[in-house]
């Protein structure tokens, strides 16, 4: 990796100040994505602003209607949280199947959604559950947050501080892992809750996570796997690669969606 300056601020304000003063600086949460890109010399930040010293950014809280997970909370913590398991079991189960144990112990919700890898799992949950992303300056609705592959609505000096998930009535996530990387080749998160029926597809879209409105309409009328029987998925806009063609991905979206609805009950 290239040389860089290293900062470990202890407050969000300090982190933002550092970030605003240096356009080439990058924040680091778990480093599970950032460090490999540094090692492969794909990124050359002038400075790394390590958020791990900010105690305020860790923790899970549950209110009557929502689960709020702060940005630096690890996947392992979400997976193990009794509160999350009780309020939104689908979310805990999803976190439990991200990467491997090492990755789950380091990787964070903030890093995952800020990165918006088109094959990541969390974006599916955020979008399907109609979550709200909290940053140091504002609150962003999930529908406005993910703007394309590896891109989000975040401003350059804006930090994710927490994600607030409304508690759904039913939800489930089913993924078809890429055989090699085990990231989602197709992942479908379905939810029925305060924001109605929402279906988010991750892994398949060339522009990252997206909502499947045709499935949402069908499920709003009839919440059952059978309701999806005749709902197709357009191949346009999907990814095709050596592991799966667009056609196969489109097909898998249907299969995973049915399984997710069945799992949600």
């Amino acid at each position: 990796m290239y040389d860089f300056a290293y900062h470990r601020p202890s407050s969000v304000a300090d982190a933002v100040k550092l970030l605003a003063s240096d356009p080439d600086a990058k924040v680091m949460s778990g480093g599970m994505t950032l460090i490999p890109t540094l090692k492969q010399r794909l990124a050359r930040p002038s400075a790394i602003i390590d958020l791990s010293g900010i105690r305020d950014l860790v923790g899970i809280s549950v209110s009557a209607g929502a689960v709020t997970i702060k940005a630096m909370t690890t996947h392992a913590a979400v997976a193990a949280s009794a509160e999350v398991k009780k309020a939104i079991p689908a979310l805990a189960a999803m976190a439990e199947h991200i990467g491997d144990a090492q990755v789950r112990n380091r990787g964070t919700i903030g890093g995952s959604i800020a990165n918006h890898d088109p094959a990541a799992d969390y974006p599916g949950a955020v979008l399907a559950l109609g979550a709200t992303v909290h940053t140091n300056t504002r609150k962003i609705a999930a529908d406005d947050f993910f703007t394309g592959m590896f891109s989000t609505a975040l401003a350059p000096d804006e930090l994710v501080t927490a994600v607030e998930f409304p508690i759904p009535e039913k939800a489930a996530y089913v993924k078809f892992p890429n055989p090699a990387s085990r990231y989602a080749m197709v992942g479908v998160f379905v939810a029925k809750g305060p924001a109605g029926v929402r279906v988010a597809v991750t892994g398949a879209g060339a522009n990252g996570v997206f909502r499947h409105t045709a499935m949402e309409e069908a499920l709003a009328k009839n919440w059952s796997p059978d309701a999806l029987h005749d709902v197709g998925t357009a191949e346009e806009g999907l990814n095709g690669d050596i592991h799966a063609s667009k056609e196969y991905r489109a097909h898998l979206v249907g299969v995973m969606a049915k399984r997710a609805v069945a799992k949600a009950g």
Partner: protein, 793 residues
């Protein structure tokens, strides 16, 4: 301490070191004043090098030197040699184009080394490597067999017409034509044997060192055969005589064949260490491994079997194209020829066989031996073809095999493709495996799976392989440029402990345990008294190393021969001490005893007398108790057996799950059943990997699309079933231990059983064969394409 001799499942003594971080791998070795090398590799599959500007890199902080191909050429260095010459059908030698250590003039695959930057730290070397600017004129690339053989295809090497390395054949064409002329039916199959990328856990690494005072060079390297590297690199590349070059292969974390070969980086760090007069280290990054370790397999084959009215095999005709990659790796030419076509009889009495093999240069990483080397390609072809023949004849897959087996009464059995099998009992391994896998009960399991919406299938393979390579004179006559004996030096120390120096090399196989058991057994001493030393040319007589499951069959035989010499000498010493005739001395349970009496001397007493020869037959015997034996095998060994695989396919997604896997193998005498089980399970894991998961993909420009773990699917624990392993042995008749070999059988026997199971699961979908890997995507396409027809029926 319990029983620990031959046949005991002793725990691997090396594992404490490996699993507690105390191993000493090449990258753990750091020499005083050491520098770091970074190799600049071609990003293009095929390009002319118009110029290299290294001025900025040379001036960068911490940089000691930058070398390019011309610098090596200026020192009159040789290219990387090929160790096996195959001849064309007309008797002319294969095309053997130069293989420069650092590219000169042209690059021929993505990853081809172009320059080396040597600096005080790895970081400085990397920084400087980015400053080297290479001016490439990109040329059209031919990364695949198909592309390289199109009329008018660009040439990988100027002067190698049609990109053909050789066009070789084996067998009796006329006899095969005659067999087809009278055939009742013919089974025909076209198949691809997918290209694999080995991925040993430890990436390759090398540290070169030069002592200006003595003129001695040392190379620490991740090698399966340090003496072979010393010979090839010293004699052919760097022109350093053996006595001035030491090669050490310390702990090595897996090889699977990929660490047999002499690689460019070994020569680069050794030569550069001499140039800069400081040690130079290079360690591959995983991405470099993908584009520079020799790949495996990569065949396209058409095969036909002629049968009589009872399904007996009359003749086999095989045409294979084999991808050599951009250059000839050390043993590449023998893999698709003498390690492949010679195995095409399999376990069957097919009387006439004719095989043609065309080896082709392409703009891809060189291809060489990978676990099984040629034999997995042979067994896959043959066992898949036998399944097709069964379909063609309307015969059961087991029945057609039984009808064609070489009977156990027929050994030694001469095949029509050069080999003479010494022993085996194919019915015994078949029956044991059918029973272990409950073959008879399968249809009930299929029906039960159907109720759960799963397609269940079962597959079988009855395979043979040839390992323990091999009589030197035989391989020499077939084009090998090396001998294939093995050496053992046994040193009984003065107080009776034993140090064994072996020319074989352990890189995961557990030799330190197996060989210690063997020696403990030979001398009747506890294993704790035995130390096994390997991997250092300064300590060990010239040995050939470990590959082709040869270590026990050849290296172990050398140990037995050396032990016999020690015991013979010990008898004479004991006879002197006991005032008896040497002819009356028996050696048993660690004691030299006068037959029929209780008068005896323990091994330690005899060895002490040998090293403190006060009371010693000094007129007749030299002092000391140390012997060396070189053992040249009389034949290959022929392990074989039966593998049965059961899979379930999810028709909605195409996902295959291996739900049952049984292997019953004849590996000859078993020294340590736990290690044998582990070797077979590991081999089967790689075989399942090849059958279902792994494949190397190049795009049409020769870019490696499966160039990292993100895209290359190695098998993981959750891809594998609990692999049941059994043995049903016959003894090898021509080596002293009766051993055959177990390192590769898993990878050789399993792929056809897995694909056979997948095809069986999809039999209602009109499928006769599926090429590897049977990925979910591929299976879903088949299922999806045939669904309408299924519904209509």
């Amino acid at each position: 301490m319990g029983f620990e001799g031959i046949g005991a499942a002793v725990r691997r003594r090396e594992d404490l070191r490996f699993i507690s971080g105390r191993g000493n791998y090449t990258d753990d070795i750091n020499r005083p004043g050491q520098l770091h090398a970074v190799i600049i590799r071609s990003p293009h599959a095929h390009a002319r090098i118009k110029g290299i500007d290294a001025a900025a890199a040379k001036a960068a902080p911490g940089v000691v030197a930058v070398f390019v191909g011309e610098d090596m050429a200026a020192d009159n260095l040789g290219g990387l040699p090929c160790g096996w010459q195959v001849k064309n059908k007309d008797g002319s030698p294969m095309a053997e184009p130069p293989h420069p250590v650092l590219a000169v003039g042209k690059v021929r695959h993505v990853g081809d080394p172009v320059a080396v930057v040597i600096a005080e730290t790895k970081g400085a070397a990397r920084d400087a490597a980015e400053l080297v600017s290479v001016d490439y004129e990109v040329l059209p690339a031919v990364p695949t067999l198909e592309a390289a053989q199109k009329p008018g295809a660009p040439l990988v090497h100027d002067g190698v017409a049609g990109n053909i390395c050789y066009d070789w054949h084996l067998g009796d064409k006329d006899a095969v034509d005659a067999a087809f002329a009278k055939a009742h039916k013919v089974g025909r199959l076209e198949l691809v044997n997918n290209r694999l990328i080995p991925n040993a856990m430890e990436p390759r690494a090398a540290v070169g060192e030069f002592d200006p005072a003595s003129g001695d060079y040392t190379l620490y390297t991740t090698s399966q055969n340090p003496h072979v590297i010393r010979l090839l690199m010293g004699a052919f590349v760097l022109h350093i005589p053996e006595h001035k070059l030491r090669v050490v292969a310390p702990d090595v974390g897996g090889g699977f064949g990929s660490k047999i070969y002499h690689y460019a980086e070994e020569a680069i760090v050794t030569w550069a260490a001499g140039k800069v007069k400081r040690p130079v280290k290079w360690t591959a990054e995983r991405t470099e491994s993908f584009m520079s370790d020799a790949h495996g397999r990569d065949h396209v084959t058409v095969a036909e079997m002629a049968m009589d009215k009872d399904g007996r095999f009359l003749g086999l005709r095989v045409r294979t194209q084999a991808n050599m990659g951009a250059y000839l790796s050390t043993f590449a030419p023998c893999v698709p020829t003498y390690l492949y076509a010679t195995l095409l009889a399999g376990v069957y009495t097919t009387p006439a066989i004719y095989a043609e093999v065309k080896a082709v240069f392409t703009n891809s990483v060189p291809v060489d031996a990978y676990r099984g080397a040629g034999r997995p390609e042979a067994s896959f072809l043959l066992e898949r073809l036998v399944d097709i023949c069964a379909l063609e004849m309307g015969l059961d897959r087991v029945e057609i095999r039984r009808r064609n087996f070489i009977p156990s009464s027929a050994f030694p059995y001469q095949t029509p493709v050069a080999l003479q099998y010494d022993s085996g009992d194919y019915t015994a391994t078949l029956e044991a495996c059918l029973k272990a896998a409950d073959w008879a009960g399968f249809e009930a399991r299929r029906a039960e799976a159907k109720k759960r919406g799963k397609l269940r299938g079962i597959g079988i393979s009855t395979y043979i392989e040839a390992c323990g390579i091999a009589p030197s004179a035989v391989v020499g006559s077939l084009g090998a440029r090396a001998g294939l004996y093995e050496v053992a030096n046994i040193r009984v120390n003065p107080t009776g402990s034993i140090t064994v120096f072996t020319g074989t090399h352990s890189h995961g196989q557990g030799h330190e345990t197996t060989f210690a058991q063997l020696i403990a057994d030979q001398f009747g001493v506890p294993m704790s008294q035995v130390e096994i030393v390997h991997g250092d040319t300064a300590k060990i007589p010239f040995g050939m190393g470990t590959y082709g499951s040869r270590s026990l069959a050849v290296g172990g035989s050398a140990m037995v021969k050396a032990a016999e010499k020690i015991i013979a000498k010990g008898k004479r010493i004991a006879a002197h001490l006991l005032e008896a005739s040497a002819d009356d001395i028996e050696f048993k349970d660690g004691k030299f005893q006068v037959a029929g009496t209780d008068r005896a001397k323990a091994l330690a007493e005899v060895s002490l007398a040998a090293y403190v020869p006060h009371n010693y037959p000094i007129e007749e015997l030299e002092p000391g108790l140390e012997e060396t034996a070189f053992y040249d095998p009389k034949n290959f060994t022929y392990p074989g057996g039966c593998h049965i695989c059961e899979v379930e396919i999810d028709p909605d997604t195409g996902v295959v799950q291996v739900v049952n896997f049984c292997a019953v193998d004849d590996v000859g005498r078993v020294i340590n059943p736990m290690i044998v089980e582990g070797q077979i399970q590991g081999g089967v894991a790689q075989g399942i990997g090849q059958a279902l998961l792994e494949t190397c993909v190049y795009d049409e420009n020769g870019q490696l699309l499966s160039g990292s773990m993100m895209d290359y699917t190695l098998p993981r624990a959750d891809d594998l079933p609990n692999i049941k392993v059994g043995t049903a042995i016959t003894l090898c008749t021509h080596n002293p231990l009766g051993v055959k070999g177990c390192g590769e059988v898993g990878a050789i026997g399993s792929p056809p059983a897995v694909i056979g199971a997948v095809v069986d699961a999809l039999k209602d979908y009109g499928v006769r064969h599926i090429d590897m890997p049977a990925t979910p995507h591929k299976l879903w396409r088949i299922i999806n394409a045939n669904r309408p027809r299924m519904a209509a029926e």
